[in-house]
């Protein structure tokens, strides 16, 4: 019998674009997260918020991520690794701004 283990991946990132995770960047973040099957959650470490669903615009806007804040992104599921990679790239590239 084969046991499947679902790995929980996590990364910590610093947000450096001027508006933080609001408006267009927040929308881009949610749209990117929604491309993956994995469960993806995010929390604002700086504000010590609980985790919210990364595929919900209300969730993202509700954790109030501003420039300079640190966030933790968690993903579990088959494509979790790709999801973390795509979201990290989005943040590292300042949301293409």
């Amino acid at each position: 019998m084969k046991t499947e283990t679902i790995e929980l991946l996590s990364t910590t990132l610093k947000i450096s674009n001027p508006v933080g995770l609001h408006a267009r960047p927040a929308a881009l973040f949610v749209q990117t997260a929604a491309q993956f099957e994995a469960n993806i959650r995010i929390r604002n470490i700086t504000r010590d918020t609980p985790f919210v669903d990364a595929k919900s615009i209300l969730g993202i806007m509700g954790i109030g991520v501003k420039q300079g804040h640190e966030v933790e992104i968690e993903a579990s599921g088959e494509d979790g690794e790709e999801a973390i990679k795509a979201l990290t790239e989005l943040i590292d590239n300042n949301f293409g701004e």
């Binding site: 929308a27 209300l58 509700g62």
Partner: protein
């Protein structure tokens, strides 16, 4: 994808909210503006709303976001101008106009259904903005 109609007493408000929401959905969602009696006169106009509704309509559904008062009544009239079959796919939302439109545009762009888009838009009224 769920279409969105913005109904306001002001043509400028309706167009402005549409533009803000479109920025969020990257142009993936059909958003139609129906503001004013005409471009210069404040008020609402069922014929204008009906035209916007036809533009935004698809069987995926349309979410109607209104500002206040007669905007709601005119929207009801406009919906009644659509066929009975189409009316089943049209929903009026309690959501706040600006916040609701932004949230609805993003949720629709993710491929969520009419009920899900409306639920998120209505929850926008409880979103904290001063953190």
């Amino acid at each position: 994808m769920v279409g969105i109609v913005i109904v306001s007493h002001s043509a400028k408000v309706a167009v402005g909210v549409k533009e803000m929401a479109e920025q969020m959905s990257q142009g993936r969602v059909t958003i139609a503006a129906a503001g004013g009696v005409d471009d210069e006169t404040m008020g609402t106009n069922a014929e204008r709303i009906f035209a916007a509704l036809q533009e935004a309509y698809s069987p995926d559904g349309v979410l109607m976001l209104m500002d206040l008062g007669s905007a709601v009544m005119s929207t009801q009239m406009a919906i009644e101008m659509m066929s009975e079959g189409q009316q089943k796919h049209i929903k009026m939302s309690e959501a706040p106009l600006v916040e609701g439109a932004i949230v609805a545009a993003v949720e629709s762009s993710l491929g969520r259904n009419l009920e899900e888009v409306n639920r998120a838009a209505e929850a926008a009224s409880k979103m904290r903005k001063i953190l």
